[in-house]
């Protein structure tokens, strides 16, 4: 085979087609850009995590317990290293006296040793040292900005008012996302007990950070701590573990983004396939002539293979450059979620893989029409060249080609996800989606042919007929645009579904302010303040803290030591906050047994009601006995009933409910819920309560929802940004598909104009065609996304999905406008110039 001729021919033949080829390339450019940006960024992230491994924790070891460390644990830690520092963490209301604002905050009381690696970044930079000396506080920069406060102002935590020494910019190992649920406040450990918050029901986390002396083997420490942990209940994290945790979380995020990016590339692939298909169809007579004068089937195929792969290479190369540029923007996008400083560099591996993938995708997806080239007969020089390319291929050839495409997609997904099953599901899902879209396209074509309304105007009939006539764009458009719509719409609907579950703000019957940690002696005072403000207490619930002592008559230590147990560790070791009452509340439904309202006989076991989730996690059944350690006093009980609980409401809900008549004398505190009429009323009552009772924490539901919304907005923005690549690719493919049919469209338009059609008649025909196509693409995409979101809701989030029709309607309108605009741009100039001029210019 004369390769030099093939190369020359590929070059010469492409000359007048490069404008068309650019659109094919653009689809690859965007797809590869998404891939390279994401994979490069992932490489950057992993390298940053490795470089900053110790800064992720700020120490070599972190040990954490929600009570004081036991002497043996403390003794061991002391023996490991002399360099350690303590931290006490808890949530509490903080009051900013200058503005009168209160905010539930994450308080950390530190002794100054931490962090051993990295540093706490503050503004001014010296504040990290001065706050200890001047007995001040460091407060999150975001909240200071929000409240327009500056260093020098003050913050009141419990009974103590601290001077704000500086703003917290960054704490080693913490991402901005960790401040979404309450600003961070750092105060000196020394004297923290004077806040009055330590004894009064606050949940305290005791932490110790260690810096190992040289020569310490982290594994030895880890093993020893593992053993101690079987008896003493605490948690610990070392550098390797934290690195792994962060790495895993990031790899999950980037895998997910990678898949979304890969869909953009696959859309590009479909664009390539359809474009090459139309391109080759226009080349049938050229191929027939070449065959006639002696070119072999391999030579003719090679001409177009070279064109397709060169196009893929150039597209992939430009895409890789673009991706490298976009990579610079990604850190800004995800900075809030990443606990390390991202160092940017070009990852040549990712660039190479991106280019390779782009070329491979362009070749694999172009194989179908390319192999059909081999089958073009020289006889077409004598006969009409109107031929169905796909019918030139035998069924076994088609099966092999689909197999190659399927294996390639699975292979790449496997390479990215490191999980064959997930990769297979991805390919399967993609194939099902494509099949449904292709099936729908066939349906649209058949329906428009069969139900063509004969009584309609010429423009309508012509516009409808364009859907099924030869060289129509129905399949290509529905496939590419439909898939893009499915993807983006699923993201929107899922986000809306998640927000919908917490959006109880507007519901009048539900409380919107929850007050916690109200001590026994403060309860009536708090209730009085609420009533003085003209508000109504919706619930005032007593809470008693307790721990498990034995389950099913087996002491807790034995249950924990049993490695074959089914019960979950968290359920066995947690501190339970239980209540007592004589009836069920709105959010509860009795599942089994009988809810006992009250007891008088204290000598026999107490009949309790347990939530059905906890029944599973404790591995217990109705009637099983449980002994509780209620602050030193054992109380025997048995499971008399189980309840299902709707946790997605702002009321306090409980795993365990005792009947009235048992826990009343036990030390207890209260939780109270209130319905306030406005955010201002909510703020006023919060301020008054916190100023009178500093230990009481308030959760403002409106604020929580706006915080969650802000968080979800940030997460979905990242996803949508990557998803945008798919939409852009979809638009390019759409433009490409419209451009390839330009030949046909223009010839028709000119013919109609020659036969006397007016300019607006020709435009009307095209608008009708594109409006129908746009509506159909939007419709099928939305139907599929509804299905996908409903499945996600059912299987993954366990939420009943109620579609938001406002979103769907808006999407349809936008999509139709886009399709019509692109369609009309495609035939621009045809309507205003004389027919003959157009024929000459287009070379028809």
């Amino acid at each position: 085979m004369s390769w030099s001729w093939v190369l020359k021919m590929a070059w010469r033949d492409s000359r007048s087609n490069r404008r068309k080829l650019f659109l094919y390339m653009a689809a690859i450019i965007v797809g590869v850009a998404a891939q390279v940006a994401i994979t490069s960024f992932r490489v950057n992230l992993n390298s940053s995590i490795n470089d900053q491994a110790k800064e992720l924790l700020g120490a070599d070891l972190e040990v954490e317990r929600n009570a004081e460390f036991q002497p043996e644990l403390q003794a061991y830690l002391d023996s490991v290293s002399a360099e350690h520092s303590k931290m006490l963490s808890f949530t509490s209301m903080a009051l900013f006296p200058e503005t009168g604002t209160t905010r539930l905050s994450q308080i950390s009381a530190m002794d100054g040793g931490f962090p051993y690696y990295g540093s706490i970044e503050t503004e001014p930079t010296t504040a990290v040292d001065t706050y200890l000396e001047e007995y001040g506080a460091l407060v999150d920069k975001t909240i200071l900005n929000q409240l327009e406060l500056v260093p020098g102002d003050s913050i009141k935590v419990g009974l103590i008012t601290y001077k704000i020494s500086g703003a917290i910019i960054e704490v080693p190992g913490q991402s901005m996302a960790s401040t979404f649920f309450g600003p961070r406040v750092i105060i000196p450990l020394d004297g923290v007990e004077n806040t009055g918050l330590l004894e009064r029901g606050s949940r305290l986390e005791h932490k110790t950070y260690l810096k190992y002396p040289a020569g310490t083997d982290p594994k030895v420490v880890e093993e020893r701590l593992d053993k101690m942990n079987d008896i003493l209940d605490f948690r610990f994290d070392d550098v390797a573990e934290r690195q792994e945790e962060v790495g895993e979380a990031i790899s999950q995020l980037s895998n997910f983004l990678n898949l979304i990016g890969f869909i953009a590339l696959l859309l590009g692939g479909i664009g390539v396939a359809s474009s090459i298909f139309v391109y080759v169809r226009q080349k049938i007579s050229t191929v027939a002539v070449l065959r006639c004068v002696g070119a072999s089937s391999n030579q003719t195929m090679a001409i177009y293979l070279i064109q397709a792969s060169s196009m893929g290479f150039v597209g992939a190369f430009i895409g890789a450059l673009l991706g490298t540029l976009i990579q610079l923007y990604l850190p800004i996008l995800v900075q809030d979620f990443i606990p390390v400083d991202i160092e940017l560099f070009i990852s040549w591996g990712s660039v190479f893989t991106g280019v390779l993938t782009g070329v491979a995708i362009s070749i694999i997806f172009a194989l179908f029409p390319l192999i059909a080239v081999r089958k073009i007969s020289p006889l077409f020089t004598l006969r009409s060249a109107e031929v169905n390319l796909s019918k030139l291929l035998s069924i076994p050839t088609r099966v092999i080609l689909y197999g190659v495409i399927g294996i390639s997609i699975t292979g790449y997904a496997w390479f990215m996800l490191n999980d064959l099953v997930a990769a297979l599901f991805f390919t399967l899902g993609f194939a099902v989606c494509l099949l449904l879209l292709a099936g729908f396209a066939v349906l649209v074509m058949k329906a428009s042919r069969k139900f063509m309304p004969t009584g309609w105007s010429y423009e309508w009939r012509q516009g409808l007929a364009n859907l099924y006539r030869p060289n129509n764009q129905t399949s290509t458009l529905l496939l590419t645009f439909g898939l893009g719509v499915t993807l983006i719409s699923s993201l929107y609907l899922t986000q809306d579904m998640l927000l919908g579950t917490i959006n109880f703000e507007g519901e009048d019957q539900l409380p919107n302010l929850a007050l916690f940690d109200i001590q026994y002696d403060q309860n009536s005072g708090v209730n009085d303040i609420i009533e003085e403000n003209g508000l109504q207490v919706m619930q005032n619930v007593p809470i008693v803290t307790m721990r498990l002592q034995s389950v099913k008559n087996i002491p807790l230590e034995e249950v924990l030591a049993d490695t074959s147990r089914n019960a979950r560790r968290w359920a066995l070791t947690r501190e339970y906050r239980s209540t007592y009452r004589d009836s069920l509340v709105d959010t509860e439904t009795l599942e089994s047994g009988e809810f006992i309202a009250s007891v008088t006989d204290m000598s026999s076991p107490v009949p309790i009601s347990v939530s059905s989730d906890l029944m599973e996690d404790l591995d217990i059944a109705l009637g099983d006995s449980i002994v509780w350690d209620v602050q030193g006093i054992p109380i025997e009980s048995y499971v008399a009933s189980t309840r299902t609980i709707n946790w997605q409401t702002p009321q306090p809900n409980f795993f365990v409910v005792f009947p009235a008549g048992v826990l009343e004398p036990a030390p207890q505190f209260f939780a109270t819920t209130v319905r306030t009429s406005s955010p201002e009323a909510s703020l006023a009552v919060q301020q008054q309560i916190v100023q009178t009772y500093p230990n009481v924490s308030a959760i403002d539901v409106g604020q929580v929802i706006s915080t969650i919304r802000e968080f979800l907005d940030k997460v979905t923005f990242v996803i949508q940004f990557i998803g945008l690549f798919s939409i852009v690719t979809g638009l390019i493919v759409l433009a490409g598909s419209a451009a390839t049919s330009r030949f046909q469209r223009i010839r028709e338009a000119v013919l109609l104009r020659t036969l006397g059609a007016k300019q607006n008649q020709v435009i009307k025909i095209q608008v009708i065609e594109y409006v129908i196509l746009g509506i159909m693409a939007a419709l099928i995409g939305l139907i599929l996304s509804l299905g996908a979101s409903a499945l996600l809701g059912y299987f993954y989030f366990d939420i009943k999905f109620i579609p938001n029709f406002a979103i769907l309607g808006t999407e349809v309108v936008i999509l139709v406008i886009l399709v019509v605009t692109i369609g009309l741009l495609n035939t621009r100039g045809v309507h205003t110039k004389p027919p003959l001029e157009i024929l000459r210019a287009e070379g028809l």
């Binding site: 004369s2 030099s4 001729w5 020359k8 021919m9 010469r12 033949d13 492409s14 000359r15 007048s16 087609n17 007579s285 050229t286 027939a288 002539v289 070449l290 065959r291 006639c292 004068v293 002696g294 070119a295 072999s296 089937s297 391999n298 030579q299 007969s377 020289p378 006889l379 020089t381 004598l382 070379g843």
Partner: protein, 235 residues
């Protein structure tokens, strides 16, 4: 003189729905080297199908075509393409130039396919384009040329590989009378100069009359075989 083309019991059938159409029905003839032969007949008589079979562009249902003593039947598509490249030239009614190539590039294709050096091929193509009167149009694309000019490029392409046999399918069918005559003369002159065998399909009897022999086809069969200097032979 030996036969450059020998057609034996040639039949070509097509399926049209459930019907079987016999377009070429058991045809036999031989064409001597260096002669000119016209295949004439009304529209739909099967003459273009016969030409396609003779040139190895199509496969017969039965019978055989022997071109330069090579039986085309057992050859693969690519082997037949190679035979065409070496020995056959084509001129079509619709010119069939590659629209993305310039005039000279179109002419060069057959020799370039053989892997011959570009410089010599380009020189030869230029010569031929001069011979057909297009020396000043070498870098024009087909769309920039008139019908007559396009056909002249096609003729130059047909002769560049010094074919032993030239198949022409209604070469003047898409041209006006004056241009048609010019093209006819060009084909016959070049044919004579290069001593090529010419097989011409036409329904133009005046054009056919310029050939040494006329084979008349009717309903897929040879209706008459006339050698100009000999009496008419009825098959």
């Amino acid at each position: 003189m030996s036969n450059i083309l020998q057609v034996n019991n040639l039949t070509r059938e097509f399926k049209s729905g459930t019907k079987l159409l016999t377009v070429v029905n058991n045809i036999n003839f031989g064409i001597e080297d260096g002669t000119t032969c016209a295949i004439v007949g009304p529209s739909g008589s099967g003459k273009t199908t016969l030409l396609g079979l003779c040139a190895g562009l199509d496969r017969p249902t039965s019978g055989e075509v022997i071109l330069r003593e090579v039986n085309l039947n057992p050859l693969s598509e690519d082997e037949r393409a190679s035979v065409r490249n070496k020995h056959v030239g084509f001129v079509f009614q619709t010119f069939q130039l590659v629209p993305t190539l310039t005039a000279i590039e179109n002419v060069m294709v057959p020799l370039e396919l053989r892997g011959e050096a570009t410089k010599q091929v380009r020189e030869r193509a230029k010569e031929l384009l001069s011979e057909v009167g297009l020396a000043d149009r070498t870098h024009h694309y087909p769309t920039q040329l008139s019908g007559g000019e396009q056909q002249r490029v096609a003729i130059a392409r047909a002769f560049i590989n010094d074919p032993k046999i030239l198949f022409a399918d209604e070469p003047t069918g898409n041209l006006d009378t004056e241009t048609g005559e010019y093209i006819e003369n060009l084909i016959f002159n070049l044919n004579k100069k290069q001593q090529t065998t010419l097989v011409l399909v036409t329904h133009d009897l005046e054009l056919a009359d310029k050939c040494d022999r006329i084979i008349k086809i009717k309903n897929g069969k040879v209706d008459a075989d006339i050698l100009k200097n000999q009496p008419e032979v009825i098959s």
